[in-house]
């Protein structure tokens, strides 16, 4: 269980995150939705320990979150890989760094689950499609079997069809691996379709938290209603038949 209590992050005098509290149960999925500048990426950076919050406690099962070695799937698929190295070398970095011995057939099973041909791993990032690069990024995040995986706008660089396809693969491999997922996205459709619960961020504060279905049907605050209606208008959420 990931718990974040009263997280405040300051950039100079401005609070980019002002008192955020949330929790993600083991194998659960929380979708954090917000517009650009709402503080979504700051939240991820704070949880990963990439920046020091002013106040607030972030724990995994009570212990500091760093101990759980959370993994990250990034927005720009190719940026997560060193252009000069083969995908395999980068995917194996967590294994080498943490001195883990890979279980028999784990790599093959994960590659199958993510529809990644094994020989693809021997190519460079520039020699694979953006969709394949993102799936390799997911493989890298899962290889060391972390209990918590963070997704920062994982689909926004992909086109519509590949987005839905990749989202389905993430859900399937999560069911198998059982990690907790915190997905940050501006696409409310994706959040409602794949998140158990939804948290809407606005200007560094929590606007509303609800489980996915009730949020889609009856968002409480006017801002959340506007978000939901925009998603319908843009075709992300199918209007009532």
């Amino acid at each position: 269980m990931l718990t974040v209590t009263d997280l405040v992050v300051k950039r100079g005098a401005r609070a980019t995150l002002d008192g955020i509290s949330l929790s993600v149960p083991a194998a659960g999925t929380l979708a954090v939705v917000g517009e650009s500048g709402a503080g979504k990426s700051t939240l991820i950076a704070a949880i990963l320990g990439l920046l020091k919050p002013a106040t607030g406690v972030i724990t995994w099962n009570g212990a500091p979150v760093r101990a759980a070695r959370p993994a990250l799937v990034m927005q720009e698929p190719r940026a997560a890989f060193n252009p000069a190295l083969s995908l395999r070398r980068s995917v194996m970095e967590p294994i080498a760094a943490q001195g883990i011995t890979l279980a028999e057939g784990r790599l093959e099973r994960l590659c199958a689950g993510l529809e990644l041909p094994l020989d693809l791993l021997d190519r460079r990032p520039a020699q694979v499609s953006i969709g394949q690069a993102q799936r390799a990024g997911i493989l890298r995040a899962l290889i060391a079997a972390p209990p918590l995986v963070l997704f920062d706008e994982p689909l926004s660089a992909l086109d519509a069809v590949t987005q839905k396809h990749t989202a389905r693969l993430i859900a399937e491999v999560q069911a198998e691996e059982g990690f907790a997922a915190l997905i940050v996205t501006h696409d409310l459709g994706y959040a409602v379709a794949h998140g158990d619960r939804i948290m809407v961020l606005k200007d560094g504060q929590v606007e509303e938290t609800a489980d996915a279905q009730t949020f889609a049907l009856s968002p409480r605050s006017p801002y959340c209603r506007a978000l939901r209606d925009a998603a319908i208008s843009l075709g992300a959420l199918g209007a009532a038949a």
Binding site: A79, A80, F81, N82, A84, L85, S90, E93, A97, Q98
Partner: protein, 264 residues
């Protein structure tokens, strides 16, 4: 990268083998044959003291190229470490080191070199110190630029999250993008070092006689410009050909890098 390696090995070979190929002893004075134009025995003629110019040029290669190689590598090491510490050491280190770099940059390289060489007394060591102390700043800026840009790259964040130790992140992620760009700067600085050594030689603060050095040879040749103009051409040509070879190799590498998006 291959073209740079080719040119550099060529020049280093010239510096090492040069003296062995020299037909005569570069310091052998032969007054009767002084200031002779190109002849059978002296293909490039002789200088005011009758010393064979070809031999002096070949011996001079050791001083001009060898020293330039040493100086440019020394300033590479100083500059890169300053640049990387500034990039990775946090804001205060960054600000103070960059102001130190600016302070050194405020000394125009040659003026500073002349001051240092002059005050420390002309000689090889003061030359090396003068040109390295005034040559490292460009490396520092390039190394800092690359350090900052690589630090924010996705794959470096991923490596840190994976728990990779600092040295292996440096080895696998910082070095590969540092080496090509620093090589481009290095070719420029190697060329500037050659020019610097010969310029100081020309001003009389560089390598001291009787050691042959291209700049100093030009200084001697200047006096006899009217009688034996050719004597002035050879050292200049030697400097130009070496520097041009390095510059062209550096440009080729920079264009190759620009194509695949490395910071130039």
């Amino acid at each position: 990268m291959r073209s740079v390696a080719l040119v550099v090995t060529g020049l280093v070979a010239l510096a090492v083998l040069g003296p062995l190929l020299a037909p005569y002893d570069p310091t052998a004075i032969d007054i009767p044959n002084r200031l002779s134009g190109p002849t059978q025995t002296f293909p490039l003629g002789t200088d005011a003291l009758g010393r064979d110019i070809l031999s002096r040029l070949l011996y001079g290669a050791r001083w001009s190229l060898g020293l330039a190689f040493l100086i440019s590598v020394l300033s590479l090491i100083i500059g890169t470490s300053v640049g990387l510490i500034a990039a990775l050491g946090g804001r205060i280190a960054d600000w103070s080191l960059m102001r130190a770099t600016d302070t050194f940059l405020a000394f125009p390289e040659l003026v500073a070199a002349v001051v240092i060489a002059g005050l420390m007394g002309a000689g090889t060591w003061s030359l090396i110190f003068a040109l390295s102390v005034t040559g490292w700043m460009r490396y520092a800026r390039v190394a800092r630029g690359i350090g900052l840009s690589v630090q924010s790259r996705g794959y470096v964040v991923q490596a840190r999250l994976a728990g990779m130790p600092g040295w292996s992140i440096a080895r696998w992620h910082y070095l590969p993008s540092l080496i090509p760009s620093l090589t481009v700067v290095w070719t420029g600085m190697f060329a500037r070092a050659i020019l610097g050594i010969s310029a100081l030689g020309f001003l009389g603060f560089g390598v001291q006689p009787p050691n042959p050095e291209w700049g100093a040879m030009l200084l001697d040749a200047r006096v006899h410009m009217r009688s034996t103009p050719l004597q002035m051409i050879w050292p200049g040509l030697a400097v130009v050909s070496c520097v041009l070879a390095i510059n062209l190799a550096g440009d080729a590498l920079r264009d190759a890098l620009a194509k695949d998006g490395q910071p130039g």
